[in-house]
Each structure stands twice: as C-alpha cells, then as structure tokens.
Chain length 238, copies 2
C-alpha cells in the first residue's frame, strides 16, 4: 500500500467519508477502499464492505491513509477511485469560465444536478473537479454529472453550436426576469469569481444581469448560478 | 496592548484585511487598528491611517495581533470593533432558524443586501454573526444589514405581526414560481442546514418549495435563500 496526497496529474483521486463513498459505489470506478481500524460497525460500513466483496475490490484496514489524506476526525472510510474522462451530451449546459474555488465548483455541481442540468463545461485555467475537496463539496452530485474540460471557449464552441448562449455579466442590459428562452437547448455561461467574463462573450451570447443593489459588488458565483438555473428551469418543474 | 483570540461573549470583535476594514470605517465603532510592520504603502492603508487620525483611533504597529488573530499571509490590517446591538426595522425580513455555519451566514448577509433586504432575524441556537469568519464571508455587507438575535421564533412573532410569513420546506406543496406576494411586508423563513424547519412552522406560514430533482437531497442554504430573494424582490428591480 503506497498512499500519497492527492495530485492533479495522477490518474486517481480519493473520496472521503462513508456517505460519499456510498454515492461513489455504483457511479465510479473504485480501485481500493481504506477503512480506519477505529471504525464502528454501521449500516453504511456494512454496505460498503459487502459491495467491495461482491465487486472484488480490495479493502485495507489501516489508519495510515487517513493520516495522509484527511485531517477530519470523523472520516473512517476512503475510496481510491480512477479518474474518468467524461463527455458532455448535447443537452442544456452550465459553462464555467476559469472557476478558481473548489468549494464553489462543488456547490455548483450539486445545484446544477438539483435543477436537472447534468452537463457542466469548464474552460481552463480552472480548478480541478477531481480534487477531493471539490468532490466533497458536491456532496455526491459529482458522480452523476458530466463534467468536461476545454482548453478555450473556442474549443467548446466548435463542438456545441445549435443552441442559445447566455452570459452573466454585471454590465448587461437584459434583466434575468425578462428572459424567455424559446430555443431548444441553451448554455449558461459564468465567469471567474473575481474577474467575471470579458467583453468578447458579448459577441456570441445574450448578456444577462441578475438585478441587484449597488450595496454589494456582485453575488457570489454559486448564488448567481443557482438563481439563473432556477429561472431557466422553472418551467420544467410545472 | 492585550490581544486575545475572538470570543463570542466578549464585547468586541475583529475585522481582518484592508478591504473589510475600509468597509468598517464609517459603519462600525472602531476601538483600535493594528497594522503589520511589513505592510507596504497603498491607497487603502493611507485611507485607513487618515481616517484613524481624523477620528482619534489608536493605531498599533505590531505583528503580534496578526500572529494571534489570523493565519492568512496576506492580512496586514486588523480593526478591533465594538459589538453593537442592532434592531430590525419593520420592513421585509429574512429569518434564519438555527443557522450553524459561519460561511453560509456571511454569504446570506451579502446576498440579502444585494437584493435590498436589510433585516435578518436569527433564531437561537445559532452561529455568531460577529465571528471574524462570518464578517469576512459577508465581504463587508455585515456592516450595512440589521441583524438581530431572538431566543425563539415566538419572541420574534411577538414583535412582528402584520406581515406575510413564508417558510421554505422540502415537503411543501406550493412551488416558489407560483407565489405572488400581495401583502405589504413579508418574512422569508429558512431552517437549519441539516434539519430544515419543523412542522410547527406550517401553522403560521405559507410553506414553499423550490422545485428540484430527486438527485440531490436539497439545495444548500445560501442557494435557497438567494433563489427565494430573487423571486420575491424581482418586481422591485423592474
């Protein structure tokens, strides 16, 4: 057993905690599972052990991986998983340009899944969605969403054409509540937490603003994504 | 100079970082200001020093407060502020029942201010909004919002009566997008991150659900608050 801290360029990542590992069982490619010697028996642990046996996954009883991989006192199970290259399908998308915060990205993954948007495009440079912190922040939603990285927005646009593009910008004229999307498919595009989107996005999108008072600079990124998704998907929930 | 870590039962708190201290200048009662000896001259620092001189606020040049109060490498200014008892006015309110996360509370304060809701009621037990982590998460919005604690929802209801009460619950029948508030003033009530609101809230509120797929348990609390505020305030931004 050789345990090393998570690294972006390795082919594997780690899923920390029993609840998340259970979400991972049927939805990811598990290499091995670590169980802490101090673990108490529970339904969750039994379920994980049984699944491992049924699927020929090695279980290692040791505190060593926990010392290296997590500082949380209440984490007793870790799954080592194979990274997979996921590919977007041609439905509605959330597009994140240069997202820089693990927690924000995880929250956005969870929120998108909650609104039925299962495809997230990420334009580099960007935070690594396979980082254990990001997987954790998604609270399991990570395993059910297609997340694909693109080197540039141009690369993304080469693959996805016949759809409406909406960008969220603070200097836009069109208020979100007035937007009625009538096109079959759409992409909702959001900029980096600190810098937003640059003006070139105005050339191929409908820029939208979520109206706000001047008392704050802007809403934080997951809040903006959540509000936009609420508006665009509410007719799907009628 | 006696510096001690922030404590909930003390009469003062700390504001960490130049940008936040600037927000605090005209909007809080500053006791003294600490400046790190390694600070480089900047417009922000000059503004803070000038304000301190004009208002007779003591400035202390020392790295000691920074060693005790913050682990961030990039924090060079700290303001020690007097806690103030704020009182809600009788406009629209956000009501948070037992919020338990500093970051969430700070984000909600910022989001509320962004939507023009300047009154937040917090029902105990609850996280301390004067904790430096919470002030920081609000990104300065903390200084512009009335935040008042109540020992129970009954105490809150004694003071605030003639208004519409809406509660956000996962088993509600009324979908947010169908709600048209016609009452002059409203209170939007949200439960704890893990447990939500108990059934007694159904007796005096209109329970509302933000529709979602079954793929996630619920949206996180700041996302739910943001979406609710967007819906309820959008006519204010027409």
């Amino acid at each position: 057993m050789k345990i090393q801290k998570y690294k972006k360029n390795e082919a594997f990542s780690y899923v920390l905690g029993a609840a998340l590992v259970i979400d991972a069982l049927d939805n990811s490619n598990i290499i091995e599972i670590y169980i802490h010697p101090n673990t108490k028996e529970s339904d969750s642990i039994n379920k994980i052990i049984e699944y491992a046996k049924d699927n020929g996954i090695n279980i290692i009883n040791s505190d060593k991986p926990f010392n290296i991989l997590t500082k949380k006192q209440n984490c007793f199970v870790i799954a080592k998983i194979q990274k997979e290259k996921k590919v977007l399908d041609d439905k509605n998308h959330v597009v994140l340009v240069n997202p820089s915060d693990f927690g924000n990205l995880g929250t956005i993954v969870r929120t998108s899944l909650g609104f039925g948007i299962n495809n997230i495009a990420i334009i580099r440079d960007a935070v690594d969605v396979y980082d254990p912190k990001c997987i954790r922040a998604s609270m399991g939603a990570f395993f059910k969403v297609n997340i694909e990285y693109f080197d540039s927005i141009e690369d993304y646009l080469k693959r996805f054409k016949n759809r409406a593009f909406y960008s969220f910008m603070l200097d836009a004229q069109t208020k979100l509540q007035t937007v009625e999307n009538s096109v079959d498919k759409y992409s909702l595009i959001f900029g980096n937490e600190a810098h937003g989107l640059d003006d070139k996005y105005k050339r191929f999108t409908t820029p939208i603003i979520i109206p706000q008072t001047s008392d704050v600079d802007s809403f934080n990124l997951p809040i903006s994504v959540g509000i936009a998704l609420y508006h665009f998907t509410k007719k799907d929930f009628e």
